[in-house]
């Protein structure tokens, strides 16, 4: 019985992230539109877009290779697996042991790697510009993320997300300087990795500064649907990760039955809504940066996270 319950909880987690991801994207868009005094598309617009894209034929470049066609599904699968590994409403789910924070970071790296490859496949200059800039950002964002992961992992004595969440939840961690620094680094990396303002603008096409959109310009139909869904999943993943690491309140510890799971789920929804609103507000208040200002922005994240880790190395209670 317990096994069935575990499998069920794990499946619920997997499909919940998949189902909610477009809603979160729609929610952020809606809030942003309201803040800008626009009516904005309805909340379920991302679902409609996905359905429409899935029903359309794929318009494929003549010289696109097997890689170009395989990448959307792989990116989607990799991002989905990574998103399913982040505890959302409960810790210690059935498959949580199969990967830790470093694995999640690396899985996102795999998705980025394949995305950049696919961007180069057709041999257009826009694909190249996107891939090259994305990797330049990643070369700073990834170390920053790893160092932020290190500092959190050193506080909890584990890289296992469930253990970290349990530890923070138990209140032993308290308020720490290194946690605060790591949080800032995490947020900066999340903004950059999800192609949000001020690093990239998710709402634009055909701008010389675009990055993520430049990489997917040649995609259409179901391939584009997969990539869009993966992008939504990634946004959800980063938000869940931040709330799981820094604000795990309300999350269920292990196997307490249906009631706590519902509480955990509700609190997760609320936290996502709050973080989503904050993201929309931040994007509304900020202007986009020039491309070569971004390394400085990401460098801040790298230095903060390195500082956080150093603090953990030299002192037990900072």
């Amino acid at each position: 019985m317990a096994v069935i319950f575990d499998v069920l909880a794990q499946s619920v987690q997997m499909f919940l992230v998949l189902l909610l991801a477009p809603l979160l994207t729609g929610y952020v868009r809606k809030v942003k539109a309201r803040l800008q005094r626009r009516r904005g598309p309805p909340l379920i617009q991302p679902y409609r877009d996905l359905r429409r894209l899935l029903g359309k034929e794929v318009v494929l470049a003549d010289n696109a290779s097997w890689l170009f066609r395989a990448v959307p599904y792989t990116i989607f699968a990799v991002t989905w697996v990574a998103a399913a590994l982040v505890p959302t409403f409960a810790t210690g789910l059935l498959f949580s042991w199969s990967g830790d924070l470093i694995v999640i970071t690396a899985l996102l790296g795999t998705a980025r790697f394949l995305q950049a490859m696919a961007a180069l496949d057709v041999g257009t200059s826009f694909g190249g510009i996107g891939a090259s800039r994305e990797l330049m950002f990643a070369s700073l964002a990834e170390p920053a993320l790893i160092m932020a992961v290190f500092s959190v992992a050193l506080i909890a004595g584990s890289t296992q997300l469930s253990t970290v969440a349990d530890y923070i939840l138990s209140g032993q961690a308290g308020l720490r300087v290194s946690l605060a620094l790591a949080l800032v680094a995490f947020v900066i990396v999340a903004i950059a990795e999800n192609a949000r303002i001020p690093v990239d603008n998710p709402a634009t096409h055909l701008e010389l500064t675009m990055i993520h959109e430049a990489m997917v310009l040649e995609y259409s139909g179901r391939h584009l649907a997969m990539i869009d869904l993966a992008a939504s999943l990634k946004l959800l993943l980063y938000m869940s990760l931040i709330v799981c690491l820094f604000f795990p309140f309300g999350m269920t510890l292990g196997h307490d039955g249906l009631g706590p799971y519902l509480v955990g789920g509700m609190s997760w929804f609320v936290k996502l809504a709050v973080v989503g609103t904050m993201l929309a507000a931040f994007e509304t208040m900020t202007a986009k940066m020039r491309v070569f200002r971004v390394p400085g922005f990401l460098g801040v994240a790298l230095m903060l996270s390195l500082l956080a880790t150093l603090l953990r190395f030299v002192s037990g209670n900072l």
Binding site: G55, M117, L217
Partner: protein
């Protein structure tokens, strides 16, 4: 068992001798490489199934001193590594070697090189060790200059020879210090000897110079990106994938085994050099447009990662933390093994590209994924493995290295506590840059549209080469899916060196790896791969079933401007431009000068980029000119009269006597 390995070495030497005789005949290549494949396979089986330690003394070498050979857990691991690489390289060469213009320059030295590498790791006294080491250096040097008429290869051979000699000299001096004044000869005697701290530090420095110059540690790496690419591709694979590991063996054998208990500060130079090597190596690889040289620079990066982990192992060992030291050593050895797998694979791919197009410059390639689909697939897997992407093997060893860094706040020394997080950040930076580097390598060379007529008419490579590449692809997957098996296989090595080992991994549920405790961290490559494959499969099936499955082929959209030529694609140089702009000023003193004519002026606009090889320019060029200057001065000594020569001899005698008197 050690006798069987020696027998294999002897057979290698026999094949080398036979190759001298037959190398000009047609089909000789297949026979020689086939024989090498068989012998390497035999040696691999011997090493895998060798039981306990065995040793033997042969009446060879210096009279009355005999040659000692021994097979222990460390030698076994490196034998497996060497002979796996050798077997795949030989298999690849059965096909690839047919394109060799002058096989007589390659065939005799190839078996010699393999035999010498095998001999190094079973040598149990300095004489046998250095003999085998020099044999390895000279055989590989002969292979480097096999195409000595191609531009740059003669210089590569010269630089390699100088650095190899320097390295061997350092190792010789290190062994001299280890042997001490009594002249303890065999390794078993050295192991018992006690060195004072100053002398032990000196040995460490000499080993870092000697083994480090062979492995490619910065700043001793300058020969590596010249020499490795100059050799035929299967030899490049061996030099990068295997010979650098022999250098790592030398470092481990001397520092961990012969030198006695370490001091904590030994780890500082090793960690620093490792981290600097990793970052500088990958940064140079990112700027490189020669595919094989790019791979050679990436070898430097990976050697840096291995040394970084070894430095952590030294720190833990000095502080009496055998489990943590075992973890670090496992990470280092696992990464060394993985690097052998994927670097061989990548060099094989580069060799296939070279035979198909005659080009090593990625700026002239492109679109090869269409013409050489299987090679492209193999190369892609190699790129993913070396970029440390899960669930492949490169990630497993890098994950272990990160876990090692996370244990290190327990180190008591403040210096290390400040150093290790910095080193960790540099490791993460190197990993991220490696991914960028290999997206660029694969993306520019294999994807896009052909940038030259040669790339347009490329054809898939032969079956033997493909078999070797696909075999390595399979091993990359297997080592990534079952890292626990490799970790368990490393347990005897860590027991031998550190008297500690990691918990048994293959008994973990679901074959996860749990290096410390389940609470701390666990990783399961098999599960991750299964999840990804299953969810990708579900997604693809569901989309094709419930959505559309139609496809229409049209010219590339390119934002509404189709039909632009292949020259409008991103090139290797433009791909790395953003990274060069961010990091270049620090690492290469790189700058760009844009000359933009004012409106109305019809001059073309120009952009010029400058960058410097700082290590070469600040260290080697002054050294080289100093040597030339001194040699020029001393040249006068050749033209003295007999009286002056006699006076010089007399002066030297007096000077020596005075020195002797002062000494006593």
């Amino acid at each position: 068992m050690v006798l069987l390995i020696l027998l294999c070495v002897a057979t290698f030497l026999l094949v080398a001798a036979a190759a001298v005789a037959v190398s000009r005949r047609t089909g000789a290549g297949r026979v020689v490489y086939g024989a090498c494949l068989a012998i390497a396979g035999a040696a691999l089986v011997c090493a895998l199934f060798a039981g306990r330690e065995s040793e033997t003394v042969l009446p060879l070498g210096i009279p009355w001193l005999a040659a000692h050979f021994r097979l222990d857990a460390l030698s076994r691991f490196f034998l497996v590594l060497i002979d796996t690489g050798a077997a795949f390289a030989s298999l690849y060469a059965i096909g690839h070697g047919a394109h060799e213009a002058e096989p007589q320059r390659v065939l005799p030295f190839y078996p010699l090189f393999l035999g010498a590498m095998n001999l190094v790791v079973i040598a149990d006294d300095p004489y046998s060790f250095l003999f085998a080491w020099e044999l390895m250096s000279l055989a590989s040097w002969a292979l480097v200059v096999a195409h000595h008429r191609e531009a740059g290869n003669a210089q590569a051979g010269f630089v390699y020879l100088v650095m190899a000699t320097f390295g061997a000299l350092c190792l010789l001096l290190a062994y001299g210090l280890l042997a001490g004044p009594q002249g303890g000869y065999a390794f078993s005697v050295m192991r018992l000897g006690e060195l004072d701290a100053r002398r032990a530090g000196l040995v460490l420095a000499l080993v870092l110079l000697g083994a480090g110059s062979k492995a490619g540690l910065v700043p001793l790496h300058v020969w590596l990106p010249l020499a490795h690419p100059a050799a035929p591709s299967h030899v490049s694979a061996l030099m990068s994938g295997v010979m650098t590991k022999v250098a790592i063996y030398a470092f481990i054998r001397i520092v961990f085994d012969l030198l006695g208990p370490p001091e904590w500060w030994w780890s500082v130079p090793v960690l620093t050099l490792g981290a600097v090597t990793a970052v500088l190596g990958v940064m140079s690889a990112l700027m490189e447009r020669d595919l094989k040289r790019l791979l050679a620079y990436s070898t430097i990066e990976n050697i840096g990662i291995v040394f970084l982990a070894l430095g952590l192992a030294l720190a833990f060992r000095a502080n009496g933390m055998p489990e943590a030291a075992a973890l670090a050593t496992c990470a280092a050895l696992f990464h060394a093994f993985n690097h052998m797998l994927f670097k061989s694979l990548l060099f094989f791919g580069a060799g296939s590209v070279l035979t198909a197009t005659g080009e090593r410059n990625i700026e002239t390639l492109g679109g090869l994924v269409q013409k050489m689909p299987v090679s492209a697939f193999a190369f892609l897997i190699g790129c993913m493995a070396i970029s440390a992407l899960p669930p492949l093997n490169g990630f497993a060893s890098e994950w272990l290295t990160f876990q090692t860094i996370l244990v290190s706040p327990q180190l008591p020394q403040w210096g290390l506590r400040l150093l290790v997080p910095t080193v960790g950040a540099l490791l993460a930076l190197a990993a991220a840059l490696a991914a960028a580097c290999f997206v660029r390598a694969f993306g520019i060379a294999f994807l896009g549209r052909p940038r030259s007529p040669q790339a347009d008419v490329a054809t898939e490579t032969d079956r033997f080469s493909l078999a070797a590449m696909l075999g390595l692809v399979a091993l990359c997957f297997l080592a990534g899916m079952f890292p626990g098996v490799v970790i368990d296989a490393l347990a005897p090595v860590t027991k031998l060196l550190l008297h500690g080992r990691l918990a048994r991994q293959t008994t973990q549920p679901w074959l996860s790896i749990v290096p410390i405790a389940a609470r701390n961290s666990s990783y399961n490559g098999l599960a991750i791969l299964t999840f990804v494959l299953v969810s990708a499969g579900i997604a693809a099936v569901a989309v094709h079933r419930f959505g559309s499955s139609a496809i229409r082929r049209v010219p590339a959209w390119d934002c509404g401007t189709p039909g632009l030529g292949p020259a409008t694609q991103y090139s290797g140089a433009s791909f790395s431009q953003p990274i060069r702009r961010v990091f270049g000023p620090t690492f290469f003193r790189a700058r760009e000068v844009v000359d933009m004519p004012p409106p109305g002026d019809l001059r073309p606009a120009r952009i010029e980029k400058y960058s410097h090889n700082l290590v070469w320019e600040t260290l080697y060029l002054p050294l080289g000119s100093a040597v030339t200057a001194v040699a020029g001065r001393l040249n006068g000594l050749q033209y003295l009269t007999i009286r002056r020569y006699l006076a010089a001899v007399f002066a030297a005698l007096v000077l020596l006597l005075v020195a002797l008197a002062a000494w006593q």
